[in-house]
């Protein structure tokens, strides 16, 4: 590490690598340390996994070829917010760094540190005048626009005449300070050669991650020039200032990463085959060793592993009662919103049964024709990271454009999915919210994105471009939306977790909150399972070893003390669990995978106990009898219900058949599952209507993952067209009608897109 550090030139040798260790240097003019700096005081040694890096991202304004009067309020916050969310997903970050192989840091080009204003992160610029640092201008990068457009819409509500950045509490001021304080990582170089890859979004993302991790400062600002350059070079829709959507960017980025990674892996395999000894192609300084090639084969699917889940769409033809099933992969779920609803409910609605009728009839292979059908989509395989896109931008017919929905949609910190198939593996998987992308603004064309992210051990942080600020956990709930609420959650990231981790974390939060308590009571800690406790026990800096445990630094000592205090009882915990009475053991069948291991033990113990308690057994028998009776009763009821249901179904079937008969020959053409495609195209056309010259872009993006494949970007358009041509000829006619349907059909589109993408992979 030290050798690596020495490679970084610094013109103001900092006293300490940790930014906060000596925050105030007796300089009376030294400004107050920022909340983030305070948080990071005594942060300990730097970690190599990057979990202790808190960099803002510069919101750059491109040298614009757009009309000068036009402001660019969105700028690149959509990109910044998403990249931050990805960075703080520990598995994703790890994979990015380690794919194709962890490059030795010396081999990589680093951000030019020499011309930076200063590298002493302890001391933000003494002068309050937001200066453009000397040397910064010398960097041949797109510099900030002289008058920074208001990136926070709130600024527009500020008093006219006073510049928002004059107010020390304003985000504008803080952002300027963050930029001035630096260090600023100018990501205008690329290391793709060293990675043995082509220049791509993935390589530039990797560059950013590597640079952040390698830098000895914990805080700073990243200027993601290269990433944006590649993004805009290859994707026309991101070249315009309009309609830049964080979710679309996320989708594109993930798909690009998948593509880049797959492309690389394929190349490696062919190379390995052609060059028998596995010597490398690249002229780069770094030669990824052979075993990396081998490992590539296995780990190239990591994006899928993390984000991909499977949807099963069941379509039941109402004519022949035949049910067809199709599995479709997805990388995120886009859910329609309702006023005053919850994410849970949106997800349930997503999987609600839906009639395919009229223009959306289903082509049944069994009956051989277009039939009315019932369709529903459930989740068969649950992703590790569940990205939920709340569809806040909805096309409104009368305005001919997208409008933002301000619906209040509540989201819990923990989530399970109700809409799983019966055969889903681990259907009760527990998710925890770890990141929220917030859109601030009145509409899709204007606004600003920030993200609020739960970091591994620093609690929740607000990432607003250059600014990074610790926030209270309750702050995360400020973005449910609602009337007069400009800032609403737009993309939610839930990651897989366990109940043990949840309990542990809640406890840690409780401890943090109860820091004023003079007495450290051991009882507080015993709630966790033995396993959890065992892991926590004995670590002086337990926070560092407990993933996702937000412990504020000041409490660390308390927390560790507390764990120390628990040490004696720990030994007893397992014995306690063994003494669970039998009836409870069998009552609560652990379903979560993590629990399965305990199950056997419980049962065994229970049996022993049963034998010991003859009296209990007898009572149990009685209970069984009672239960049997109840069961019988229940079954009877159930049977009754089923019968009712059958009758109802028969009735509905009859009516459906009637309907079907009426509709036969109505001229609607629909191929097998053309429905979703068609509605998707309808949407696209709509978008075209809305955008004029940006024709098809909104819709295009929706198809991005569809056409996303190993074939490279230029085929993008062609692909899309191809898709259009597949559609029934009648499409043009029915397009208007489809628009009306759009709302209800959107989910099809998304799942379809995703499905296609995976099939191609």
């Amino acid at each position: 590490m030290s050798s690596f550090f020495s490679r970084i030139k610094s013109n103001a040798a900092p006293a300490s690598p940790a930014p906060g260790t000596a925050p105030v240097k007796k300089d009376p003019n030294a400004p107050e340390p920022t909340p983030l700096e305070k948080l990071l005081v005594n942060a300990g040694p730097l970690r190599s996994d990057g979990s202790d890096k808190f960099f803002g991202f510069e919101n750059m304004h491109t040298p614009t070829n757009i009309h000068p009067t036009e402001r660019l309020p969105i700028a690149f916050s959509y990109c910044n917010s998403i990249v931050q969310c990805l960075y703080y997903s520990a598995p994703f970050r790890e994979q990015v760094i380690n794919f194709p192989a962890r490059s030795p840091p010396e081999a990589l080009e680093r951000p030019p540190s020499a011309p930076l204003p200063r590298l002493n992160t302890n001391l933000p610029n003494g002068q309050n005048s937001p200066l453009s640092p000397p040397g910064r201008t010398s960097i041949s990068s797109p510099t900030r626009a002289p008058a920074k457009p208001a990136t926070t819409p709130g600024a527009q509500n500020g008093l006219p005449g006073t510049k928002p950045e004059d107010n020390k509490d304003s985000p504008e001021y803080k952002k300027k300070q963050a930029l001035a304080a630096g260090p600023v990582l100018q990501m205008d170089y690329e290391n793709s050669k060293s990675y043995g890859m082509n220049e791509s979004l993935f390589s530039s993302l990797k560059d950013i991650f590597e640079a952040m991790i390698a830098h000895r400062s914990r805080i700073g600002v990243v200027s993601p020039h290269k990433l944006l350059e590649i993004l805009r070079r290859d994707n026309e829709m991101f070249r315009t200032p309009m309609h830049q959507d964080a979710h679309e960017f996320f989708n594109l980025l993930l798909n690009e990463v998948v593509e880049n990674v797959d492309f690389y892996s394929k190349n490696r395999i062919t190379e390995a085959e052609s060059e028998l000894n596995g010597q490398t192609i690249t002229s780069g300084e770094v030669v990824p060793d052979q075993n990396s090639t081998a490992s590539n084969k296995s780990n190239s699917g990591w994006v899928h592993e993390l984000f991909e889940g499977t949807l099963t769409s069941e379509t039941r033809c109402l004519t022949c009662e035949n049910t067809s099933q199709r599995d479709e992969a997805f990388l995120d779920l886009s859910v329609d919103l309702e006023q005053h609803s919850s994410v849970t409910s949106c997800l349930r609605k997503f999987s609600e049964e839906e009639m395919l009728c009229e223009r959306n009839k289903f082509h049944c292979d069994n009956c051989g024709g277009l039939q009315e059908a019932e369709k529903r989509m459930k989740i068969k395989r649950l992703p590790k990271i569940l990205a939920l896109h709340l569809k806040r931008f909805k096309y409104t017919e009368d305005l001919q454009r997208l409008q933002k929905l301000f619906h209040r949609v509540v989201y819990p910190f923990y989530l399970r999915l109700f809409n799983t198939t019966d055969d889903a593996e681990d259907p009760d998987r527990l998710y925890e919210l770890y990141a929220v992308v917030v859109h601030i603004g009145g509409g899709p064309y204007h606004g600003h994105y920030v993200s609020i992210i739960k970091t591994q051990d620093r609690g929740w942080l607000l990432f607003d471009d250059e600014m990074v600020e610790p926030v209270d956990k309750a702050y995360v709930r400020n973005f449910f939306g609602g009337e007069n609420v400009l800032a609403c959650a737009y993309v939610l990231f839930y990651q897989e977790t366990t109940e043990e981790a949840m309990m542990k974390e809640q406890e840690a939060e409780g401890l943090a909150a109860a820091q004023q308590a003079t007495q450290l009571n051991q009882d507080l800690v015993t709630v966790t399972t033995p396993k959890a406790n065992g892991a926590a026990n004995g670590h002086a800096h337990h926070a560092f070893h407990q993933p996702r445990t937000p412990t504020v630094e000041e409490e660390d000592q308390f927390a560790s003390l507390n764990h120390a205090a628990t040490a004696p009882p720990l030994a007893h915990v397992p014995t306690n669990t063994e003494h669970h009475p039998i009836e409870h053991v069998s009552t609560h069948i652990p379903v979560l995978g993590s629990k399965k291991s305990n199950l056997g033990l419980f049962k065994k113990e229970g049996k022993e106990e049963k034998e010991a308690k003859a009296a209990a057994k007898e009572l149990e028998k009685q209970a069984k009898q009672k239960r049997k009776d109840m069961e019988i009763q229940r079954r009877e009821n159930y049977r009754k219900q089923e019968e009712d249901l059958r009758l109802a179904l028969a009735a509905s079937k009859a009516s459906a058949e009637e309907d079907a008969k009426k509709r036969v020959g109505s001229g609607e053409k629909n191929g097998d599952n053309a429905t979703p495609t068609e509605s998707g195209a309808g949407e696209k056309d709509k978008q075209a209507n809305g955008f004029g010259s940006v024709k098809g872009m909104g819709g295009l993006n929706r198809f991005r993952h569809t056409s996303m494949s190993l074939k490279g970007k230029p085929k993008f358009w062609g692909k899309d067209k191809h898709e259009e041509s597949v559609e029934p000829a009648s499409h043009g006619e029915s397009e208007d009608a489809d628009k009306d349907k759009d709302g209800s059909k959107e989910k099809n589109r998304f799942s379809l897109g995703r499905k296609k993408s995976t099939f191609k992979f």
């Binding site: 007069n484 409780g510 109860a514 159930y638």
Partner: protein
Amino acid sequence: MFVLPPPPRYPIGGYPGIPGQLIETNNSISHPTGPEYQLVVGEGTYVLRDDLHLATPPPHPSEAPVHNPNPLATTISPPTRGTNLSIVALAPRQPSQSQLYRFGTRNSTRSQVPPSIQESPHETNSQASDVGSQSVNGIATSPLDGLRTPVYGEGNAALAMINGKDSKDPLKRRKPKSNIIKSNSSFVSRVIPHEALTKRLQEHNPNGLYAFANINRALQWLDLTSPIKEEHLTKILFTKGHALCHDINQITKGPNHLDIIMGFSTGDIIWYEPMSQKYSRINKNGVINGTAVSDIQWLPNSENLFLAAHMDGSLVVYDKEKEDAVFVAEEHSPTTEEATSDAEKKALLTVKKSVNSKNQKANPVSYWQVSSSKVNAFEFSPDRRHLAVVSEDGSFRIIDFLKEKLLHHYMSYYGGMLCVCWSPDGRYVVTGGQDDLVSIWSLEDSMLVARCQGHNSWVTAVQFDPWRCDERNYRIGSVGEDCRLLLWDFSVGMLHRPRAASVRQRGSITSANLKMQRTRTDSSVNRLRSSSNLTSGSLPDEEEVVHPVESRAHTAMLPPVLAKAIDEHPLCWLGFEEDCIITSCKNGHIRTWDRPKEGATNDDSSTFASASASHP
């Protein structure tokens, strides 16, 4: 060609929490009619009687509306809560001749719950709020009852002295010290009594309902049976504290006396007597616990003691007449040797100060750390021995508060739990939470009985309708953030079988019963020496305390019998009265829904039977 979209149109108007107007306004009442204001259920149609809209007070002048234009402002706003009601009828309860409850079938020790606990049709003052133990308290006026039911802290001589002092003069209620109208406290901003307050009080029908409702920083005293019910009897404006919860003591109530406690966002607690306009402040400036009070209730059978849930997860018992003292956690078991620690940690309830502490000169009377996160609600069981507590971490606990011991610890499916309610017979507990579910738990079987799915958002209040419950069938009502009221008919035989029910391996119900019984017997027998139990932490034959989350595949699902959006704003409170259902929303709308006209009160069981039969 590219057409520039119109400039951004941000929603106009203020930001949430900042009311638009700056002057004090009056409540308004409206009587909307139409099919959208009717609830059609099996037993008939509930019709909206009126919609009383409480006026949101303007911000206090000293608290000039901080108009922070930054939607990302990280300033933490103090907790606030939508309108909640505490309802009371002054008339003493009539002995019940309940048609709905037959207790012969139950022979557990719990059946010592007096039958009068079951609300009779005439029992208009059952306060069916989420702070619903009032129905329990209300009957404690019966002396017989007092003998049967243990009183919290009765084993402690230090407390008994004070209790005894009160009983010397039971007719004359003790009032708080300070006059709230003349008060120059910085906590109370303004008190606005009605011009004809005395006259209205005299005219009040003793069977009629008084209600206390919070809205923003105001607390209003309303007469729900008055023809001019929109005119408050008294309105108190506090300076910045918001009353988040309040409760009326059903034992001490009388024509000239009402004891009300309110918990504030500042942590303060106010004991208020509206008839004499006297008040006193407890936990002043949060000297005992500085976090906001999320729920507050009088202890069953107690004139003086009440329990407050603070947002740091502690439950604190205060005495309304005691002075505050800086709280230092006591050694909860000073005499206990460390050997019992393993039994103790199973208790999972940290008793920082026990009711048996000898030091009872000042508040708090007792202090328990229940959870590491915020306690959202609690409720006392009808048998007055147990306490159900739900908290933000998703836990649901059943505590034997007499013995200060945790009996059960359950978890929500996911997310925090927001509300809790006991069935009138104490056999079931229902909870609602951020998993959009109403969950029904059986105490006897110590298990989750069913999950009720139907809300589209978080469930904020859940209540049993005692007028539509009998020993087998239960009517549950719930309201949520989705602005909807849902009614559920629950009877054990009707449950939907879960998918995996066939392979379900339920434990022996009987042995669970046995355990439950044993605990109960213990609790009654050991009542007097509960202190020793407490110090040893738990009984040797420990039953399972922490219950894991039940898989969805193994749980019965219950559909609602009614689901209807009844307001434009998220709902936050629900109450069942003899003749109506009352709901309230975050915006201050109190809506009263008349029960079906056709002899519902006389013919309850038959209508109910048909209602449940008609339900698929």
